[in-house]
């Protein structure tokens, strides 16, 4: 059988209003934490003059996590553990928060220089 959950998740995000109470069913406990991040407006979309974009999510421990626009990756331990190692979750709370913020349009916008962006994307900068 093929994998269905990503499609389910995608459809959920598209119909987020209709299925808003299904989030925690599909995403489990991280839905709650992601909503908390949304509440605290922790998601910032950084864009550089070159047109690159990246998301920064302020984690619960005041740590900034950089999430990419083009693929699912988050440097947080939960992602490494739940998603990469155990294959038990689709997303971590940070990426989920990015999606939710986007779907709700509450992402904060910020612009950075190209230099900062490249440092950010290469993981060498603590912005």
């Amino acid at each position: 059988m093929r994998s269905f959950l990503p499609e389910v998740a995608e459809q959920l995000f598209q119909d987020i209003q209709k299925y808003k109470n299904t989030k925690h069913f599909v995403f489990g406990p991280c839905a709650l934490q992601a909503l908390d991040l949304v509440d605290q407006c922790s998601v910032t979309c950084l864009s550089s003059p070159s047109g690159r974009k990246a998301f920064q999510v302020m984690g619960g421990s005041e740590r900034l996590y950089t999430c990419f626009v083009s693929c699912h990756y988050c440097p947080c331990p939960a992602f490494a553990y739940t998603v990469l190692r155990r294959n038990e979750g689709l997303l971590c709370k940070h990426i989920l928060a990015v999606y939710l913020c986007q779907a709700m349009g509450v992402t904060q916008q910020d612009s950075v220089s190209d230099q900062q962006m490249s440092a950010l994307l290469s993981g060498t900068a603590a912005l």
Binding site: M1, R2, S3, F4, L5, P6, E7, V8, A9, E10, Q11, L12, F13, Q14, D15, I16, Q17, K18, Y19, K20, N21, T22, K23, H24, F25, V26, G28, P29, A31, L32, Q33, L35, D36, V38, D39, Q40, C41, G60, V69, S70, C71, H72, Y73, Y81, V83, L84, R85, R86, N87, E88, G89, L90, Y99, C101, Q102, A103, M104, G105, V106, Q108
Partner: protein, 932 residues
């Protein structure tokens, strides 16, 4: 709850959603809720976020605080008892009289504004209470716009379940009061709270005949007074409801495994997370209550209820810890309940998604029939032929295919095939923009699927490897649904105090007094295994009663050190280090594991980077199971994770620096003494042990020659051990996992005592590997005869042995006496013959005793090399004989002795047992001579 009523008046409400609407101008967003488009809601969500962003701190404080409490009031009052309140507070403005509404609404809002001390145009027909209620409804409680997933209204629809409904209320009440109690306490009079409570009561009284002039003239203190009074009564009522709620502990218990690990943190008040949290806790208790009910009346399957999906499972796969079942619809749902996506055609296929808890409860397998009760929700995805059913919390298995065909495979639990991880290189599109790429992705995933079969090595016999995981996913009745693969580290048995099953759950064994009524169960023992999973987690599994105590060794041989699969186990208790120090001393002795444990990563290749073992676990689970709950895995001999008990010499054990540790050793019992009770195996047994390491010459570090060991009543002694202990001869025994603490060696619950065979090589006993080699080493040496003992010293402890030489300095005349015994059998049970006064009849051997032996009890005080110490020794017969004039004893008449004859005589060296040691006011040692 009267949502129906709400819904009716919904279209009448003209309200603004969010604070910034109020601020920025007149913006009527009233619309029919049932027709809410996702766009508009998303916009209002956005506004919600914006309002938090944009508003300055002060305003934010005011408005959001107020909003929260308005919500809170609304949410709380229906939960308590008065449904009327809800209607009044929330919906009075939109009440049945349309004509009154306009003006009243204005007045209300005006009054509100004046209280807020914020200038506002009076013409704005808005009321914060309404808007926030609306917002709450929209974002959090989701009652109305989606009838399909409407929990409460569905429960109302099934009117026959009155209990269910009340369960819902109870759960409401619980979660509310649990979270919000501090705020509702009257002493906490922060200004915002007071105002808000004023609001609530305002809103209520307004529902009757409140006018704006009255509101204006009303002084604030009065309002707040009313408000706080009200909140007190609210609080009291909620407290009462809490106290009366029978389901409370049940519901909370059920979520313990999940929640205990989580940090309890406070969400932003009024935020989405808080609402979801509330919704979740309500849902959790609803689900657990529903499960409880569905278990209790499983016989009456109500298929005829509308909206119930009757599905036959065709295929199951596991994906991201959820289970996705391809099902075939059996029958169209009953009439009268129209879903948004009604499954009308018969035998339609659909995909059903079960979350982890439901899946663990349900264990869906092919050919099972499953009922899914509303509210479920169906999701149709473009390009998919079948719908996907979500929110399947209320699911029940009504027909189990595996149960029917459980002939050969006793635990023929079907385990779902695990899906390969999804590709991370594609993000989810929020619009339809990336639809085409997404389809490619799907193909890619499908191709990947074919290439790698994840975890496919075991095929159908894939067991859970983690105890914690299995316990986490456990069902309602505390039974662990999954099989867990563990290594059996230790097998032991515990005494069963009586036959009551409840006491089995509390394995702390009360010390048996002689007054315990003997029962059939008396002396029965329960088999226990200490298991460890590959992540290092321990659990104790209490198994069946052993028909014979000696069967323990058979199970030791079968299980100990082997990799076994646990099936059909129940969780009894979670125990912590503080509560069960003894158990954890055993666990500590098994820590760190021999090989690095897995790091809760599933793939074996991860083991290379597994961390060094941290501190030993601080908790473990007590599980219970049946005899067939433990089954060794075929093909394995000894698990690499098994840490066999290392046999030490007594000398090593005595010289260890550790304060408290488990130790295993082989030693010779040179003396045994039963404390407390008359029968071996009933009371505590005190043994004095020695081994060659203690007996040999000790030039470098002198050590005690003997070790006292106390066998606790909680340690089961098998009948062969008891037999050996009853015989007077010295015997060699192996002691496994005894505790050495505070210089004393104890055998307790988890310790196992075994008789060692005389010939070392015949030892085919419990331990399957290296143990037998390690024990042959001390075996080579033999004990010297007689056994060397320590000389008496001031540091001597009770229940130990020492040797004593000294001069008699006094006789305890009060305790000195003599008595005749039978010269044939030695019995002192004699009867005086009527005719001859000096002859007796032995009751035991029925012989006439013409020359009775005279036995003497004598306790003397000795002076020895030990100065400033009183030594009182109870002597044995042979020593007494040697110091007295033995010839006189053989005469027919007992002459009696003068104390002076005895004084000054030297005795020793004697082997003595230390009975009492008193150190204050002066050292006083009570000894008893023994023969080894």
């Amino acid at each position: 709850m009267s949502f129906g009523k709400r819904k009716r008046h919904y279209k009448d409400i003209k309200c603004v959603f969010f604070p910034d609407d109020v601020e920025n101008g007149l913006q009527k967003v009233g619309r029919e809720p049932t027709a809410l488009s996702s766009v508009s809601s998303a916009k209002s969500w956005k506004k919600c976020g914006d309002s938090f962003l944009d508003s300055p701190l002060m305003k934010n404080l005011n408005s959001s605080g107020r909003k929260l409490s308005a919500i809170r009031k609304l949410a709380q009052s229906p939960a308590l008892d008065s449904r009327e309140d809800l209607v009044n507070i929330a919906w009075s403005s939109s009440g049945s009289e349309q004509s009154d509404n306009e003006t009243q609404e204005q007045h209300l809002s005006r009054g509100v504004v004046q209280q807020q001390q914020r200038p506002r145009r009076p013409s704005r027909p808005t009321a914060p209470i309404q808007s926030y209620t609306r917002a709450l409804r929209m974002l959090g409680t989701d009652k109305d716009d989606l009838p399909v997933i409407d929990t409460d209204s569905d429960l109302d629809e099934s009117e026959e379940d009155v209990d269910e409904d009340s369960g819902q209320q109870i759960s409401d009440c619980e979660s509310e009061s649990f979270d919000e109690k501090p705020e509702d306490l009257p002493p906490k009079t922060n200004m915002a709270e007071q105002e808000i409570s004023g609001y609530a009561s305002d809103g209520e009284s307004f529902g009757h005949t409140m006018t704006s002039s009255r509101l204006d003239s009303e002084s604030c203190p009065l309002l707040t007074g009313e408000g706080s009074k009200r909140s007190v009564s609210d609080w009291v009522r909620s407290a009462q409801a809490m106290l009366q709620t029978p389901q409370k502990s049940f519901a909370r218990q059920s979520k313990t495994p999940e929640d205990s690990a989580k940090k309890r943190r406070k969400f932003q008040s009024g935020g989405l997370a808080e609402r979801l949290n509330r919704l979740q806790s309500r849902q959790r208790s609803a689900v657990s209550f529903w499960r409880h009910q569905s278990i209790s009346d499983a016989s009456t399957a109500t298929v005829d209820r509308p909206g119930v999906l009757v599905l036959e499972v065709l295929e199951v796969q596991e994906e991201c810890s959820m289970q996705l079942a391809l099902c075939e619809h059996q029958r169209p749902p009953g009439e009268g309940h129209q879903h948004e996506n009604p499954v009308s055609e018969e035998r339609a296929r659909m995909l059903v998604l079960f979350n982890r808890e439901t899946a663990a409860q349900l264990l869906p397998a092919p050919r099972d029939i499953i009922h899914i009760y509303p509210p479920w929700q169906s999701l149709s995805i473009e390009g998919f032929s079948c719908d996907i059913i979500l929110n399947t919390h209320f699911s029940q298995k009504v027909f189990s295919a595996s149960k029917l065909a459980n002939t050969s495979t006793p635990r023929g639990l079907f385990s779902a095939e695990r899906c390969s991880p999804y590709s991370l290189c594609q993000t989810f599109g929020l619009e339809d923009a990336c639809r085409t790429t997404e389809e490619n992705d799907a193909k890619q995933v499908a191709a990947l699927d074919a290439l790698c079969s994840y975890g496919g090595s075991g095929g159908l016999t894939r067991h859970c490897l983690s105890l914690l995981e299995a316990i986490e996913g456990l069902g309602q009745a505390g039974s662990v649904g999954q099989d867990v693969e563990v290594v059996v580290q230790r097998v032991y048995s515990i005494p069963v105090p009586d036959c009551s099953p409840m006491t089995i759950l509390k394995p702390r064994v009360p010390s048996r007094s002689s007054t315990t009524p003997p029962s059939a169960e008396k002396g029965k023992t329960r088999l226990c295994v200490l298991v460890q999973d590959s992540y290092g987690m321990f659990s104790v599994v209490q198994l069946h009663l052993l028909p014979h105590k000696d069967d323990l060794h058979q199970y030791c041989r079968m299980w100990q050190g082997r990799t076994c699969v646990l099936t059909g186990i129940n969780v009894v208790q979670r125990v912590t280090r503080e509560r069960r120090t003894r158990l954890f001393s055993l666990i500590d002795s098994l820590w760190p594991p021999v090989m690095p444990v897995k790091d809760h990563g599933n793939t074996p290749c991860m083991s290379s980077e597994s961390r060094s073992a941290g501190p030993a676990p601080s908790f473990c689970y007590l599980l219970s199971g049946q005899e067939n709950s433990v089954e060794p895995v075929e093909g394995h001999t000894v698990s690499p994770l098994y840490l066999p008990p290392t046999t030490q010499t007594l000398r090593d054990i005595l010289q260890t620096e550790l304060k408290s540790c488990r130790c295993s050793f082989i030693a010779t019992v040179i003396y045994k003494r039963i404390l407390q009770s008359s029968d071996v195996g009933q009371g505590e047994v005190c043994l004095v042990l020695t081994d060659p390491s203690l007996q040999e010459e000790q030039p470098e570090r002198p050590c005690r020659r003997t070790v006292a060991l106390c066998v606790n009543t909680s340690c089961v002694l098998t009948s062969s051990v008891l037999e050996a202990l009853k015989s007077p001869a010295a015997c060699r025994m192996s002691f496994r996992d005894a505790i050495r603490e505070h210089g004393v060696v104890l055998c307790v619950e988890q310790s196992v005592v075994e008789v060692c065979p005389v010939a070392p090589e015949v030892n085919s006993s419990a331990r399957p590997n290296s143990h037998s080699q390690s024990l042959s080493e001390p075996e080579a040496k033999t004990l010297p005869q007689p056994v060397r003992l320590d000389p008496v010293s001031p540091e001597i402890t009770p229940n130990s042995l020492c040797s004593l030489t000294g001069v008699i300095v006094g006789v305890d005349e009060n305790t000195a006496y003599s008595w005749p015994t039978c010269n044939h059998c030695g019995s002192d049970n004699l009867e005086m013959l009527a005719d001859r006064a000096e002859n007796f009849l032995c009751v035991s051997c029925k012989a006439v005793v013409d020359r009775p032996n005279t036995r003497i009890q004598l306790e003397v005080f000795l002076s020895s090399s030990l100065t400033n110490c009183t030594l009182k020794v109870k002597l044995q017969q042979k020593t007494i004989m040697s110091i007295l004039n033995t010839a006189a004893l053989e005469g027919t008449e007992f002459p009696g002795y003068d104390v002076e004859n005895v004084l000054g005589k030297e005795v020793g060296p004697l082997a003595v047992y230390v009975r009492v040691v008193t150190r204050k006011p002066a050292l006083w040692i009570g000894l008893e001579e023994i023969s080894l």
